[in-house]
């Protein structure tokens, strides 16, 4: 049995028994808080500071050169616990990006159903290309179920460009130029 220690309490003084000093000190406290700055954030106009590792809406990002990073390996689709991600792999247009065409794939379609998404971040964790990130978007609304499915265009729009730590295409080019292609 855990030992309990009974704290000795001082008996109340006659003045304290009237509760008046306590009421006065309470009034002082509330008046003090009244003078303090409000903590309210005027939400739609003012937005909270979102920390970097916040798990918001999953988004697709591009590398600093504007290339799609996703190679449609479908790992995120398989790992997604609520099966929110649906992806159709496709090729890269050879005319638009001859360098990457026939080397990598890119998603033809990429849908994330935000009604299913549980913001667990497993897709971000599993992605070998660091192409999918849960960023700072936290308020999501729509009038229909269809609207709540983010398609590829929307995902890239939300994701934007993030700084790339690996820049594999730049490294590949540099290696080719120095005659050390592989």
């Amino acid at each position: 049995m855990a030992k309990t220690k009974v704290l000795e309490r001082k008996p109340l003084t006659p003045m304290e028994k009237t509760f008046l000093p306590q009421i006065v000190s309470g009034l002082k406290t509330t008046f003090g808080t009244m003078m303090q700055k409000d903590v309210t954030l005027q939400y739609p106009e003012e937005r909270p500071n979102i920390p970097d590792n916040y798990r918001g809406v999953p988004t697709l990002v591009k590398d600093p050169n504007g290339r799609e990073k996703c190679v449609s390996c479908q790992l995120c689709e398989f790992v997604c616990p609520p099966k929110a991600i649906r992806m159709t792999p496709g090729g890269i247009d050879a005319e638009a990006d001859p360098e990457r065409a026939h080397v990598e794939k890119a998603p033809k379609e990429f849908d994330i159903n935000m009604l299913r998404c549980i913001y667990c971040g497993l897709c971000q964790e599993v992605c070998p290309e660091e192409a999918i990130f849960l960023q700072d978007v936290f308020s999501l609304s729509g009038y229909s179920r269809e609207e709540m499915i983010n398609n590829k265009e929307k995902l890239y729009e939300l994701g934007g460009t993030l700084p790339d730590q690996h820049s594999k295409w730049d490294k590949k080019k540099a290696a080719e130029q120095s005659g050390n292609a592989h």
């Binding site: 309470g26 009034l27 509330t30 808080t33 009244m34 409000d38 903590v39 005027q42």
Partner: protein, 370 residues
Amino acid sequence: MELLDAFLPYLLPIVYAVAMISVFMGLCSYSVLAERKVCSWIQGRVGPNRTRVPLLGHIPILGNLLTGLGIFQPAADGLKFLFKEEIVPGHVNKFYYMLAPVLALAPALTTMVVLPFGRYVDADGITQPLVLANVDLGMLIILGISSLGVYGIVLAGWASNSKYPFLGGIRASAQMISYELAMGLALLPVFMWAATPGSDYGMSLFGAVQSQQTLWLFIWQPLSALIFLVALFAETNRLPFDMAESETDLVGGFHTEYGCFKFGLFFVAEYAHVIMGSALFVLLFLGGWNFLPGLADPWGESLIGTLLSIAWFTTKVFFMIFFFIWMRWTLPRFRYDQVMSLGWKILLPLAVGNLVFNTIIIALYDTFTR
């Protein structure tokens, strides 16, 4: 013209009464706003700051300021109450259910008839009160009629035919009865001092104010003031004595089954009681429109002096309203048995003791000075 002269004595009181009711109702709605604003400041929030009326709300700087202070909010609140769907639950006694809010509000508005709110100096150089009806028994009328407000609450609790309102109504009536006694007894010494034998004023509030020209009764009769203040909080059903509502254990108390404008009437009645109570406390203990203790009446005899006396009186009333609100957001609610024991075991004996003490003092004073 002669016709007008003939009707003027009848017309003028009506005009005055309508003017006073308008001002009073305006004060009620703005004390609701004050309640919301002060509450939010005390809790570190902002409070209502979005309601904006066209034109006035779009004046460059002033409009934003007024909107931020929530000045237009009462209009939105009132409109909301007016345009909500009138829901009458099926299980209520319809007639009494409808009657209750009216009965709650009417006494609160009636008492202002005898409430002096300023003074003027008439042609003969005699100071007169600005009041709708200057009667000798002003204080008795206020005590008598304002207590009738509890009937509205009891009736609401009973007519709602539902257990929480019922409990609220019972609590309200028990509380009113308990604190009425202490309140009346706390006032007796005040009038014993204020209305000395041979004075013209009797129980009128004007007399009480005039007697405080040198010393406010709050300083002179602190115990009476304290008992009266506590009883006032209980009579107005304000925290820490809002037994009748007590959201945590009674849902909404007596107005649980009420919605839309009927609830609005209860709401206005509560604030009308608060304003009346504040005004009463100012008149009786804080010197009414007297400037400061020892510095009675620097206002002068002109119209400006009259207006200044009204302004000073309203300033004090506003402070008291603020005090009511401030108290509400400071103290937690008493338990029901604590309220009862405070009323019967502490305040009532104290008030009786205070009365006896003052009676002896007055008797001694009269014996040795005459």
